[in-house]
Symmetry: C2
Subunit: 294 residues, 2 copies
Amino acid sequence: MELHHLRHVLAVVDHGTFTAAAAACHVAQPSLSQSVRGLERELGAELFHRAGRRVVLTAAGEAFVPAARDALWAAEEVRTQVAAVSDVVAGHLDLVALPTLAIDPVAPLVGAFRQAHPGVVVRLAHPDSTRELVERVRSGASELGVTELPVAEGRLVTVTMGRQELVAVLPPGGRAGRRAGAGSLALAALAREALVTLPVGTSTRDALDLAFARAGVQPRVAVETDQREAIVPLVLAGAGCAVVPRPMAMAASGEGVLVRSLRPPLWRDLGLVRRPGVPSPAAQAFLAIAADRA
Amino acid sequence: MELHHLRHVLAVVDHGTFTAAAAACHVAQPSLSQSVRGLERELGAELFHRAGRRVVLTAAGEAFVPAARDALWAAEEVRTQVAAVSDVVAGHLDLVALPTLAIDPVAPLVGAFRQAHPGVVVRLAHPDSTRELVERVRSGASELGVTELPVAEGRLVTVTMGRQELVAVLPPGGRAGRRAGAGSLALAALAREALVTLPVGTSTRDALDLAFARAGVQPRVAVETDQREAIVPLVLAGAGCAVVPRPMAMAASGEGVLVRSLRPPLWRDLGLVRRPGVPSPAAQAFLAIAADRA
DNA sequence: TCTCATCGATAGGTGTGCCCTATGACCGCT
DNA sequence: AGCGGTCATAGGGCACACCTATCGATGAGA
């Protein structure tokens, strides 16, 4: 039993004759006769009384018709559901973003996307590392990844999204804050302070370590945690200084921490990665929004 | 889009790989790949991320799967509905019977059929004439016809069902009743009485006219009506005598009319007519019940 | 890091099955 | 009784789906 069988029988019901139904189905009349006959054989029941000039539904046919209409409607619903995803009015968009990028730039991008496409659910995964982020994108578990560039995976397509400054957040009234004044803070000076930082392997920590190495100094790690929510409270409590993306630092400045640029400035390039090929409509829409913001 | 496309995609979802899905569908792996690829082209959306060794559903695929399951379930429901009719547990049986035969033998037959097949609705049509009855059966509007034999339509299959006696019903205390006593009533004597009868063209009336003609007498028609329910009340009210099937007469005798056999006795052969070919399961069941009762 | 096993995609050949045209049988209408 | 129309059947042709063989890619294991 295939859908065209159902279509053929319903065409006969709706048009009254095999001939008219064949025309409506764009097939020859004998083809439609054979199609219906084959379905009747498969079902083991005649659907029509063939009474010369007119065809009349049998009891089996009466039972068949509404069920067949349901089935065809359900099949059409399949198209509708898929089309809704294609039209970015339903479905979901799987994103993965480095946790430090969740506040910026991911949050405003997702907000704009949701405004434009309220029917599409955004699923945002938080990888433990850039390696896991890349793996999720490459396997298709997530369609777009927001990460630091460059990524060590040549098979993925990369879209740059500008750069983000990493700045120091200092406890109010501390030595570092007094020394830096309202200006910037030398890396060497930061290296003398107790540091609250993420574990090795996270992108922010690795960028920071690289900067210290280039400056020829050794940081003093005081607290190492993978709980990002704890960093600002730890700084406020005087546990040490930290280095975070500027958007995150600005949000925390309202809580009392001091924000200082580093000297030399510490930047990192951000971008989107995706699998090669044509992205889904939802991903295309997200990419367009990201391009507009850049 | 055809049902096997849906089956193929769901097999991939359920088995995790194209290879396993192909085995489950009893097709080669490249065939299933092409089938899925073709459906994706038709829908204009990829359903799977092909990530090397593993396949992952896209957002469109996620939307596709439940809808496709619904559609396949609906298609299976088509089979179920038709099978229910074939198993005589659902659907309907279209009968047509001469009105004078509705009390007997149709009523007890339908009763027995309904006892055996409570899920099957019996639709009993009342034709105005044997010609209309035959036409309904021949066109398929009704599947079985209960009628007087023989029928003037050689293309229908006839099954005899025994014969039925036509008897006189007389008003209590009337002249005819006294003359007949407890025995039978000669046709010639009935011809002298006022008659309550159906219009010409009905089978009972035509049988009666034929009997009078053979006896060489002319009936005196007093009331001619196509309202069968009025006949017994008319007789009771003294409007005249009537000739009706014995089962109907026996039912009316409880209301006070006298019942007398005719001399010579007046019989008519009863039977079922149907279209040639294999009857529906419901009709077969009804025919079996009718054969048992004969 | 190299090899191997496995998976999906592609290419090319083949057969089944569907569709078409032509024709026949039958019915109903005029 | 002739005619138009309907459905069924027969037979040829072509498209499509299927199959085998092979390749490229990937991930696991040595």
